[in-house]
Amino acid sequence: MWGVIRQKMSTGSSSVLVLGQRIRPAACAFRNYSSPAKEINVREALNSALDEEMSADPTVFLMGEEVGEYQGAYKISKGLLDKYGPERVLDTPITEAGFTGIGVGAAYHGLKPVVEFMTFNFSMQAIDHIINSAAKSNYMSAGQLSVPIVFRGPNGAAAGVGAQHSQCYASWYASCPGLKVVAPYSSEDARGLLKAAIRDPDPVVVLENELLYGESFPVSAEVLDSSFCLPIGKAKIEREGKDVTITAFSKMVGYAIKAAEILAKEGISAEVINLRSIRPLDRATINASVRKTNRLVTVEEGFPQHGVGAEICTSVIEDSFGYLDAPVERIAGADVPMPYAANLERLAVPQIEDIVRAAKRACYRAESVASTA
């Protein structure tokens, strides 16, 4: 919520972001007891969500490579094997097609599997089971085969991992009816959306982000409660504004928020929407925002063609064409397989400055033109 902005403002305007860590006043401990909000990182949020859902429902079980003994490739499932045993935390052989198929079969017969992909790049080896079986079975069997399964794992670019470990699969999965696709940003998102996904009777793809795992966010007591849940299909307005709407999901939400701060100093009030849910897309919230601001910038890390931004743009044209005062700006990753070299990688992924420039273009405010507030 506002917690993030409040935190930033309290540390002064020149806070520096170092890959997920914030430099805070030395007096603050990691758990900041002096302020009302507790902080947890996304990893802890996911771990606690898994733990609570497995505790509440004995049919929920976790399956994937390295999730058990190794405590999870990214330590998301830390401690779960010890707590729940090997029947509920399964280390699988290296076969995405195999264990995804097994998960689908188990879901057919009443269990609730949570299938972890080490990264969604590897889910490509299992995509037939996800699309042709998980997504379509309920429909094709006329409701006889329901698939209450969750597919989760890191999605999108990390840092220096190259093309086969960096693609964003949001638009791949979000194009398929029968699936639900969510992309958490903050710890609250992570807890709420993963819990909702596990409880959902439909197959849900949860697109996490490796670089966000270590990032901490303040969470309220309500979020920490084991019954906490976020609705799938509702976006969140991270920051209200009136001049331009910026939509984003996952890591790009953080970038969009920072871009909004920079824009604020230049007199542009940006509204940042954290999509949270890619399918179903919260068209209502997006359109209401665009009708207010009349300008739209979509931000995503993935490839531009057939991406999430393309879908958002079309939905706004369909519902709110008359309200647009400027063409929709689409910020996406470069249309190339992700290069490895650090300088090239940086250029292949949207940066905060790209979002700022796009917002200014949407406001007809190019760099060289003097600002008119």
Binding site: G101, G103, Y139
Partner: protein
Amino acid sequence: MAVWFSRSRTIGYCLRKKLGFFGLVGHESSCCFSPSFRHISSIRQIGGSYGNPNGFLNDSAIHFRSWRFESSTAETQLDPQYFQEEDDLNQGLDFPGGRVTFTSELRFISESGDKRVPCYRVLDDNGDPITHTSFAQVSKELAVKMYGDMVTLQMMDVVFYEAQRQGRISFYMSTTGEEAINIASAAALSSDDLVLPQYREPGVLLWRGFTLQDFADQCFGNKADCGKGRQMPVHYGSSKHNFFTVSSPIATQLPQAVGVAYSLKMDKKDACVVAYFGDGCSSEGDFHAGLNFAAVMEAPVVFICRNNGWAISTPIEEQFRSDGIVVKGRAYGIRSIRVDGNDALAVYNAIRTAREMAISEQIPVLVELLAYRVAHHSTSDDSSKYRPVDEIEYWKSSRNPVNRFRKWVERNGWWSDKEESELRSSVKKQLLKAIQVAEKTEKPPIAEIFTDVYDHPPPNLKEQEKVLREDIKRHPKDYPSDVSL
């Protein structure tokens, strides 16, 4: 010095003992290729009579290749003795997976055994029981039901195939030649066993009580179809009959079967999971993953392979170079058997036993049923384009599983010509009526386009339905009048 504990049964040694007990390994067993299998004389005999996987083909078969039966070293059987003498356990080393003894002979395991894995059968081609075979007797009631369902299945295929040719349904797949596989395997299972089919096993549904009208309704995609007209013909599914809806991509059902078994284990029922698949399916990655996982997870799955020699136009020697599917079981640590798929009693016995093993020992079992796909792959296929017509005719007549079983049933005094003609005329009437009724039945209502995509229809689908209905109201002439709203 690390000592690796073997978690798996030590292969070969224990397995041989167990298989020997069940009389399933071929040394002493009386089951063997019947003289009617024709061996092409052009096979080079070096390396033993590997046999001709296309032995059933005429000599004029053009796609037979003999070069691969040469083997350099004398490896004797498909169930080889890896060592000359008894294992000297002192001369070994612990490796991951268990203890391995050493040998100073630089010897490669041959790519093929000297003999093919023999094939279990009970009745010979004339329907006479082969003496000294082990099989449990079936009662008159069971035998008559089995035979009756085989005839029904056979006739259903003919009538529905014709219906497709007449343009009344869009597509059909027949099981001609595999009636014994379908019905006898279903008869050996219990109704609690969960079946994941490929697509050529409607006989299992028939056995379990799916009516001819149910089949017709699915093929016509009308509103009585329990699949709500969502799938193309022959993609049956019925949770009531524990028959998972047919899914077109090949082999996906194999790892899914393991997942179902994983869940079933927790139910602790006297039931197992049964996954059917064809010879071509063994090439898919999911086959490897499914079988491998089943063994690792000790899943009670009976994997039933219908090796019918063809995957559309791909004959099995272009599909794999192993001795069929049965030998692949050992590679995964799975108990396996090869059975004559045209022998209803052999199929019944083998599946019954496999099922008992799967449930009592909580292990996967692989059963390869050898048969021949007399049918074309589907109504979109004309198999005379890639195989000789007289080969198809041969299997349709001389190797017909229905006739063979009929002879046995008749010889027991349980069936007669009179009953045969009564059954056939009754079934034909029922089939024609079922088709007529199905054809006239309304198609599913518009609302069913949008249901079951998700558990609850999301707002965008509700909106789409609203828009569609408004459109139909405004332009009724653009929409069919026989679809209810």
